[in-house]
Symmetry: C2
C-alpha cells in the first residue's frame, strides 16, 4: 500500500515543487479544479495592479502606445505559442473560446466553399456543439454538421468534409486524442482540422507544428490560470493566414485602423482575426500566469502531471476496491490529459461532500466526479489526502445526504 510518507518523499524529490510558491493557495484547501478555474499566481495580481495603477489610472489613453496595449494580443499570443508548439505570429489572444470558434469555423466554411460537411465529436463540449450548429445554420448553404463517434472518424471522412472539430482532451473523461494521427487522416481527404485545446493548453505538451494542425482555439482560465472568464485564444497555421478571412471583421483587424478607411482591408497575419478592442485588464492576469510557465517546461510539467494522475488512480484502486467506483480516464499515459474522472453513483454528492472537507473537484452530469491534477500547484501528499477524504466520504455514505441535489449545481 502507498503511504503518506511515500508521497511526502516524492514531494521532497519533485524538481518543480517550488513552482507552487508562485500561487496564493490556502494550505487548508486541496484544489483539484484547476481544470475548470486555475488558481491565481502572485504575478497575475501584480500585473493587474500595474495595469490599473500605472497603465490605466496614470497612463490613461496614452498607454495604448506606451504600454503596448495595442499589440498585446499578438505579444501575449507569442508568449503562449510555445505551450502549444506554435510559432511566433500564429497565436492571438482575443474574445472568448466560443467566439473564436465561431470565427474559425466561419472562415473555414468560406475557404472550403465546395464542401458542405463539418464533423465533430458527439461527446464534444456543448458550447462547441452549439456554436458549430449556429455558424453552420447562419452560413445558409446546407452545411451539415455531423456529430459522430470519434472512434469511427475514418468512416465519415470524405471529399465532402470541409472541417473536423474535436477537443484534444475530453472535458468529461480526460481522454486525450492523438493530435498527429487524427490531423493526418483529416488532411488525407483535404479537410481542415480544428482542435479545441481548452483542456490541453498548459496541461499537456501540444505540438501543433509537428502535427501540422491547421487551426486551434483555447481558453486561458483553466490550466493557463489567467482568471475567471479570461480571454480565449486562437492558433492559425502561418501558411493558412493569408487564405482565411475573419468572417466577423472589426476595425482592430484592419491593416491601418487609424486611417478610418470605409473599406475593410485585412491586416497581415493573425491580427486580422482581431475584431474589437483587446481586454487589457483581463490580459494582465494572463501575463502573470505566463511568467510562471516560463519558469519551467511543458515536458517537466507533464512528467509531474502523469505521476500525480497515476498516483491518484492507483490510490483509488488500492483503497476503494470495495466501492462501486470506476476510473473512466484511460490508464495509458499517452491517452490522458491532466484531469482524472471517476464514475460513481451520487457523484454530485461525492463532490459536494469533498468540498465540505476541503477537497475541491467538480461534477459533470451524468455521475462523473472530476479531479484536476495541476502540476504547478498540487503535491503528492495532496493527492494522498484527497483520496483519504474520498474514502471517508464513501465509507460514511456522506454523499447520499439529501442536501446534495445536483439540480442546485452552479459550477
Amino acid at each position: 500500500m502507498t503511504t503518506r510518507a511515500d508521497c511526502a518523499s516524492r514531494d521532497a524529490d519533485d524538481p518543480v515543487r517550488s513552482l507552487r510558491d508562485n500561487f496564493t493557495l490556502d494550505d487548508s484547501v486541496i484544489y483539484m479544479d484547476g481544470n475548470s478555474l486555475g488558481p491565481m499566481a502572485r504575478q497575475s495580481r501584480e500585473h493587474v495592479l500595474r495595469a490599473l495603477d500605472t497603465e490605466w489610472a496614470q497612463g490613461l489613453v496614452g498607454s495604448w502606445n506606451t504600454s503596448q496595449w495595442m499589440d498585446s494580443p499578438m505579444i501575449l499570443g507569442d508568449r503562449l505559442a510555445p505551450l502549444i508548439g506554435a510559432q511566433p505570429g500564429e497565436v492571438l489572444i482575443a474574445d472568448t473560446i466560443t467566439m473564436m470558434l465561431a470565427k474559425l469555423v466561419g472562415a473555414s466554411l468560406n475557404f472550403q466553399s465546395g464542401r458542405h460537411v463539418v464533423l465533430t465529436d458527439e461527446t464534444n463540449f456543448h458550447s462547441d456543439l452549439y456554436i458549430l450548429d449556429g455558424v453552420a445554420r447562419f452560413a445558409n448553404r446546407n452545411i451539415e454538421v455531423r456529430r459522430i463517434d470519434r472512434y469511427l472518424l475514418e468512416e465519415y471522412l470524405s471529399e465532402d468534409v470541409a472541417l473536423v472539430e474535436f477537443s484534444h482532451v475530453d472535458f468529461r473523461t480526460g481522454e486525450m486524442l492523438d493530435l498527429h494521427e487524427i490531423t493526418a487522416r483529416v488532411h488525407d481527404v483535404g479537410a481542415l482540422m480544428l482542435w479545441d485545446l481548452a483542456h490541453s493548453a498548459g496541461a499537456v505538451p501540444v505540438d501543433v507544428t509537428s502535427a501540422d494542425v491547421d487551426l486551434a482555439v483555447g481558453c486561458t482560465y483553466k490550466f493557463l490560470n489567467a482568471g475567471p472568464g479570461s480571454p480565449g485564444f486562437c492558433y492559425i497555421r502561418g501558411s493558412l493566414q493569408d487564405r482565411l478571412d475573419n468572417p466577423l471583421p472589426g476595425w482592430l483587424g484592419h491593416a491601418r485602423p487609424f486611417d478610418f478607411d470605409p473599406d475593410y482591408v485585412a491586416a497581415a497575419g493573425i491580427r486580422a482575426f482581431q475584431t474589437s478592442t483587446p481586454p487589457i485588464i483581463a490580459m494582465a492576469a494572463l501575463k502573470g500566469s505566463l511568467d510562471v510557465f516560463e519558469q519551467t517546461t511543458m515536458s517537466e510539467l507533464r512528467d509531474k502531471s502523469l505521476a500525480l494522475s497515476t498516483l491518484f488512480m492507483d490510490l483509488v484502486e488500492e483503497r476503494l476496491s470495495d466501492h462501486d467506483i470506476e476510473v473512466v480516464t484511460p490508464r495509458e499515459p499517452f491517452r490522458r490529459g491532466s484531469h482524472v474522472s471517476l464514475q460513481v453513483e451520487g457523484a454530485y454528492g461525492v463532490v459536494q461532500a469533498l468540498i465540505e472537507r476541503g477537497v475541491i473537484g467538480d461534477f459533470r452530469a451524468l455521475e462523473i466526479a472530476r479531479f484536476g491534477l495541476t502540476p504547478l500547484t498540487l503535491r503528492f501528499v495532496d493527492v494522498f489526502d484527497a483520496v483519504d477524504q474520498l474514502v471517508q466520504v464513501l465509507d460514511g455514505g456522506e454523499h447520499l445526504d439529501p442536501r446534495f441535489d445536483h439540480r442546485n449545481q452552479v459550477t
Copy 2:
C-alpha cells in the same frame, strides 16, 4: 471675455463637483479623452482587488456561485439599464461591442427573413461598417447593406428594409441624432432599429423605452469608465427577446447549462445572448464605475456636460477667431453628445502638442481634434486652461513641428 475667475466660480457652484474625488486623476493633467478611455474610479480598483484576492484567489471555483459570478452579466446589466432608460432584464454585459453587433444584426436578419436591406450611416464608426458587411456576407442570402446619408434616411426606408443601424452620437463630430424620431420612422416601414450607444451611454441621457428602441449595443470603456477593453453590452427590448435567436449560441446561453444537453435550448430572456464564460475581472471594474454613476443622475450630468461644452465652444470662438479653426459639433444642445470636435489643419499636431502641455484629447482623420467633456471629472477651469494651451499651441505654430506625423498614430 470669459475669465479663469468666472470658471473657478462656476466650479464652486457646481452641484456635482465632488464626483471628481472618486477618480484617481493627476492634477497636472487635463484629461479630455474620456470619450475614448474613461479614467479609473477608486471603486473600480477596489472591486478588481476584491475579485482577485477574495473571489478568485480565496473563493476559487466556488465563487461562480458564492460571488454571483454566474449571474453577473445580468446583474450588472440591470445596474447599467437606468443609464440608457432600459428596464430590468433588458441589458446584458458580454463580449465586445462589435461582437454584440454581430449577434444582434445576425438575429435581426433571421427574424426579418422576408427583407433583404440593411441601412447604415455612411459616416458610421468603421467597426460598425465592417461588421455589418461581414455578417450580411456570411448570411449568404443577398443581403444588401446600404451606406446612406443619414439626413436622407426617409428616401431609403421601404418594406425591403430589415434593419437600420445608426450611431446615436457621431464619433467624429459629436453630433447626436434624434433617437425618438428616427426610431419611429424606421418602425413606420416595419424595420428594426439598432442604435450604437458607444458615445452616448454614460454621456447623455438615453431613453430606449420611451423611444421604443428595439436593439442597442455599447461599450463600457468610454464614458462608462470601466477600463481599457472592458466588455460590451447589448439591449434587447423585452417584448422582442423571445422572438430573436442568438445566432452564435454557447453553453452559457442555454436554459440549463449544467445539464450538458446535446440540444441547445435557449435560456429565457436576455441571458440567451450570452455565449461564453463572463469576463469577471474586467466586469469588476465596471461595478466600481457604476457605483459612481449611482451617486448622481444622467440629468444632472447632462446639465454639466452641456455647460462644459458650451463653455469650450464659446472660448474657442472668443479666443481663436483669428485662426482657421472650426467647431464642427452642433451648437444646439439637443444635437450634441458629450464631446466637441474642432476641425483644424494639422489637427494631429495640435493634439500631440497639447498632450505635451498636459491636455489630453485625440485625433481622428481627417483633421479633427476631439475633446471629451466628461462631467464626472472635468472642471470649468480645466476647460479654460485647455483652451489657453490651445491658443498657445496655435499662436506658436507648435502643431506644425515635423515630429508630429500622424502616420505614427496609435490611439
